[in-house]
């Protein structure tokens, strides 16, 4: 009996908590399980992992949606300026920095605690070309628009799944994003795949961007929206780009060759839903 109890106690738990803090915006937990280290927001509410890295192979992207954020490379394979809204553990910006060491990378993160955790536990480092701005994405993007700064590749990844920043869902916000995107640039937005919000977001993106690729994988609960200012390229172009790039992104575990077939322009949402605007954006009430 005692032996059994000891065995139960000695059995490895789901993971060892190596850091925990309560920031202004969320509870942050860092968990270590073997070589895998994960960042979890609001662990008591059963949130999924935000980011994980494998300490033995830190270049490998562990999460499907993180890898999916690089599908935009199929539309613009040599970005010189990159904007990432939402730092998390920093794996998206670090991969960009590794892929394009000469590109200017701006990262926006509202929570200073997340920046320290990414640096202390997830090997994230600012470089001469990569800077983190502790700011609200809306404010940063509006100002960038006024100053005429533009980007070749924009990743919107500011949703933690807990509280949704409603001012980042609106038509006006997407118009501001459009203003800072270069004519050849690509926008990649990690959005909601379930709930009523899926329909509302889809019609809002449709209004501002006309069409977009709806990118979903069975391995991920996320839906990634990929679009650009002009018309979308034919699928053949995507496949060609995937073939050219596949080898370069192999070390990050990004299965680029599988992506074109999963990127669809088919409308699979309720078109009659109301567009989200600065006047009407109850994102947190539309989640269920």
């Amino acid at each position: 009996m005692l032996g059994l109890l000891l065995l139960a106690l000695a059995a490895p738990a789901a993971g060892e908590v190596i850091h925990q803090e309560r920031s202004l915006y969320r509870d942050i937990t860092v968990e270590q399980n073997g070589p895998r280290r994960c960042l979890i927001f609001n662990v008591h509410r059963g949130d999924r992992n935000q980011t994980c890295i494998d300490l033995n192979e830190p270049e490998r992207l562990v999460f499907s949606y993180t890898r999916m954020s690089f599908a935009g490379l199929l539309l613009n394979s040599e970005p010189e300026s990159i904007l990432v809204a939402g730092l998390g553990g920093g794996s998206i910006p670090m991969t960009f920095s590794d892929l394009f060491p000469d590109a200017r990378i701006d990262v926006i993160e509202i929570d200073p605690a997340v920046v320290s955790v990414a640096k202390d536990f997830f090997l994230f480092e600012e470089t001469a070309n990569m800077r983190v701005y502790v700011n609200d994405a809306r404010v940063f993007i509006k100002r960038a628009g006024l100053e005429g700064r533009k980007y070749d590749y924009i990743v919107l990844d500011a949703f933690t799944g807990d509280y949704i920043p409603e001012h980042l869902l609106t038509r006006e916000f997407l118009e501001e994003v459009r203003q800072i995107l270069n004519p050849e640039g690509v926008l990649v937005a990690n959005t909601f795949s379930t709930s009523r919000l899926y329909d509302h977001e889809s019609v809002t993106y449709q209004r501002v961007w006309n069409e977009f690729y709806n990118f979903k994988l069975p391995t991920s609960g996320n839906r990634i929206i990929i679009t650009r200012i002009g018309a979308l390229p034919p699928r053949g172009d995507l496949t060609g780009a995937a073939r050219r790039l596949a080898e370069r992104v192999e070390k990050y575990d990004i299965p680029l060759l599988e992506y074109p077939a999963r990127m669809s322009t088919r409308v699979d949402w309720d078109m009659s839903r109301r567009i989200l605007t600065d006047q009407y954006s109850p994102g947190n009430l539309l989640r269920d």
């Binding site: 202004l24 609200d136 809306r138 509006k142 006047q279 109850p282 009430l285």
Partner: protein, 203 residues
């Protein structure tokens, strides 16, 4: 009288809850934006209590009381009509979103909130007939207006934003304030206390 106290409490919190939504496009959704809004509302209410109490010393009457509601409604209109025109230059001039949101809150919310704050002490003066009842009256009025605040907070954050656009909710608050003013004037007229008497005390 109790119903109009409810309306003022309700409108204060409705506008406050919407404040964050109105400012988010310019100053973001960070905690400091909420900090700005709450600070400005608290200071404006504090000032309103002081001014309302002082005004109640000078021949308090229903006409003046109703004018608080009407002017609060009027000074809420810029939030609906000129919010962008107000926030745009502040956004351009003030780089730090904390001070930007503080300044924008002062410009948009301080005047109507001060006017709404004047209502409480003034209504106490109007209702109190005998000194020994003053505490009870004050308690009743604060009870009703705070219940109104709770209802405004819950209604706005749970339901109104799901059903209506922000500006439509604000128009609703303006309308409610004007209706409250009309009720005060009507009640005052029926009691014959329109600027002439205070509930039985001939002036």
């Amino acid at each position: 009288m109790a119903s109009v106290a409810f309306v003022s409490g309700f409108c204060i919190m409705t506008v406050e809850m919407l404040g964050a939504r109105i400012m988010a496009p310019y100053f973001g959704g960070s905690v400091s934006v909420w900090g700005s809004i709450i600070t400005v509302f608290m200071l404006a209410l504090a000032l309103g209590y002081l001014l309302g109490g002082r005004l109640s010393m000078r021949s308090p009457n229903a006409l003046v009381f109703a004018s608080f509601y009407v002017s609060a409604a009027l000074f809420s209109l810029p939030i609906i009509l000129f919010a962008d025109a107000i926030m745009q230059p502040i956004f351009l001039a003030v780089e730090d979103a904390r001070y930007g949101s503080l300044l924008a809150s002062v410009v948009m919310f301080s005047v109507p909130t001060t006017l709404l704050g004047m209502i409480s002490p003034y209504s106490v003066r109007l209702l109190v007939e005998r000194e020994e009842h003053s505490g009870q009256m004050a308690g009743l009025l604060f009870f009703v207006s705070t219940i109104g605040s709770a209802a405004g907070t819950l209604g706005t954050s749970f339901y109104f934003v799901l059903w209506f656009e922000v500006n439509r909710i604000l128009w609703g608050a303006v309308t409610a304030l004007l209706i409250a003013a009309a009720i005060i004037l009507l009640a005052g007229y029926m009691r014959g206390s329109l600027g002439l008497r205070v509930r039985g005390h001939e002036i």
